[in-house]
């Protein structure tokens, strides 16, 4: 069975740790090395593509320095060869505006950051349910 490759883009070190800590036990997932911001997203995706290792899902944090999640989302969707990769936005606080803009720019889901293991599982499962 193929493992679901997930790329997290998240500037907060704690949140990167939580992500791998809570999801490391899931055998159906393969967690790619997370990015600390959205600036190098295209270069990173090119590399993954080269090694035939493109993520099946990208999770973007909204509040990041230099380039926000929304801006990173736009960058990905503008690049034809990566536009098809499903993107999920997450943030500590999801405003109606963030939700609206994310969906408009082509995000699949916009969710609040999970608070526990169950939450992280649910986040991934909601994606699996949507694509399967």
């Amino acid at each position: 069975m193929h493992k679901l490759r997930i790329l997290l883009v998240e500037d907060d070190a704690d949140d990167r740790n939580f992500f791998s800590f809570f999801l490391k036990d899931r055998e159906d997932l393969s967690l790619l090395a997370p990015l600390e911001n959205g600036v190098g997203i295209i270069e990173a995706l090119e590399k993954f593509k080269h090694s035939n290792n493109l993520p099946h899902l990208i999770i973007l944090d909204q509040n990041m320095p230099v380039r926000t999640g929304l801006q990173t989302l736009q960058t990905i969707k503008e690049k034809a060869c990566f536009a098809e990769i499903p993107v999920m936005m997450y943030s500590t606080y999801v405003t109606a505006e963030l939700k609206k803009n994310s969906l408009r720019y082509g995000a699949l889901h916009v969710i609040q950051k999970p608070c526990d293991k169950q939450g992280y599982y649910k986040m991934i499962d909601s994606f699996l349910e949507a694509v399967l």
Partner: protein, 430 residues
């Protein structure tokens, strides 16, 4: 010598003329003030008697002493009469006004206006604003023109109203309006800043709160063996405090959002709103085995999202404050009423409605009925019942934004009843 004689002669002549002038002035004053009823004037062909009728007399005195300037001019625009008020306005003695053209007393700018007026006024009455020239200042005036025909002679009567005070008040009003506009702008900016602050604060506060919660949770669940039961208790307290603070921050943000005023009003079926709220609260309703009966509810003009929050808050409270081991029973009913008052009569075609939400929960002492809508007001300890004490404040604020009223009635342990009085056709956006 001859010159000296001439000087003496001229001086005498001047004295004589001054006497005559004083006499004439006295006579004039007597006529003006109404002390004289008749005049005897010597003409070449003998004496002639001029009498004044009593009615004329009253008008003469009135015109002389009224607050408005009164001027009569002839066809050529030359002043043939003016009252003392007008003389005072232009700050000149009467002798230097009579016989002069009216426009000589105007500021240059307003001369064309009055010249134009003089052309029009012979065919109809007219009014215009102009400016009199006074030694010290310019006086804005309103000119009211009317032609009078007396025994074949046509004269033009002009009533001159001093607008200085009016203009001053107008200017004052304008400057006050300007100030008001500025304060409004400042207020808008500060409101916006507050909004920004609430938004940033609620977002930025939630980040550390979430981490406090997560790390505490990790400690409890993953370090079970190494922590004492006491430490576990403290950690649980940290978690519950963090989650309460989160509720507070989210509620505060919602409360501040209400002030921004971007609520669109549409036709909303309240039955649909209740249905949605029930779906949202499905979990709690199931847990508590609650029964929610809703009777026939009206369609009203309101902001759907806000109205949903109202019912969500009240129904959630009814579920939260249920009596132990007694399943909550909530009844929502409505009646259409004639006027905007709690004791208004029922009227099927009325333009207001009262929606009542009644429960069988713990209720509250009637004396707190007014307090429960205050911000951060709690009647029960936060250990027994979670919540920030903002819910009902938001509810009240929304109802008031809809030009409605809310009240609550209850007795301790006998359930609570919340009543909303709302206009049915409130069609302005809020």
């Amino acid at each position: 010598m001859k010159e000296g004689n001439n000087i003496i002669k001229y001086k005498e002549k001047i004295e004589q003329l001054t006497l005559q002038l004083n006499e004439a002035q006295e006579t004039l004053d007597a006529i003006r003030t109404g002390q004289v009823d008749a005049l005897v004037v010597q003409h070449n062909d003998g004496l002639k008697l001029y009498t004044l009728q009593t009615a004329d007399h009253a008008y003469r005195v009135f015109i002389e002493s009224m607050n408005e300037g009164a001027v009569s001019v002839n066809r050529d625009g030359i002043i043939v009469y003016c009252n003392a008020t007008f003389a005072a306005m232009v700050h000149k003695p009467l002798s230097r006004i009579m016989g002069k053209p009216f426009i000589a007393f105007l500021t240059e700018k307003t001369i064309p206006i009055v010249e134009n007026l003089f052309i029009k006024c012979w065919s109809r009455n007219c009014k215009a604003e102009a400016c009199l020239l006074n030694k010290k200042e310019e006086i804005p005036v309103l000119l009211s023109l009317k032609t009078l025909k007396i025994e074949e002679h046509i004269t033009l009567s002009i009533i001159v109203t001093n607008l200085s005070d009016l203009k001053k008040s107008q200017e004052l009003l304008e400057s006050k309006n300007c100030d008001l506009e500025e304060s409004n702008k400042a207020l808008e900016i500060s409101n916006h800043d507050l909004q920004q602050f609430a938004s940033v604060a609620s977002h930025d506060l939630q980040e550390p709160l979430r981490k406090i919660y997560m790390f505490s949770d990790l400690l409890i669940n993953n370090e079970m063996k190494s922590i004492s039961p006491e430490s576990k208790l403290y950690l649980e307290k940290i978690i519950s405090s963090a989650s309460r603070m989160k509720t507070l921050v989210v509620d505060m943000l919602n409360y501040s959002k209400l002030s921004s005023g971007n609520g669109v009003v549409t036709k909303v079926n309240l039955a649909h709103v209740i249905k949605e709220v029930k779906e949202d609260l499905e979990l709690v309703i199931g847990e508590k085995k609650a029964v929610i009966n809703s009777k026939k509810l009206p369609v009203i003009m309101c902001n759907k999202g806000q109205m949903r929050q109202v019912f969500q808050n009240i129904i959630y409270n009814a579920l939260k404050f249920s009596r132990p081991n007694i399943p909550p029973e909530i009844t929502i009913s409505a009646k259409i009423i004639a006027s905007n008052s709690w004791d208004s009569e029922e009227d099927k075609n009325g333009s207001y409605c009262i929606i009542s939400i009644e429960d069988n929960g713990i209720g509250f002492d009637e004396k707190y009925a007014g307090n429960i809508f205050n911000l951060f007001e709690r009647l029960n300890s936060k250990d027994a019942y979670e919540g920030a004490g903002i819910g009902l404040s938001i509810t009240k604020k929304i109802i008031e934004k809809h030009c409605g009223k809310i009240n609550a009635e209850s007795q301790k342990d006998k359930g609570a009843k919340f009543n909303l009085l709302l206009p049915i056709l409130n069609n302005k956006n809020i």
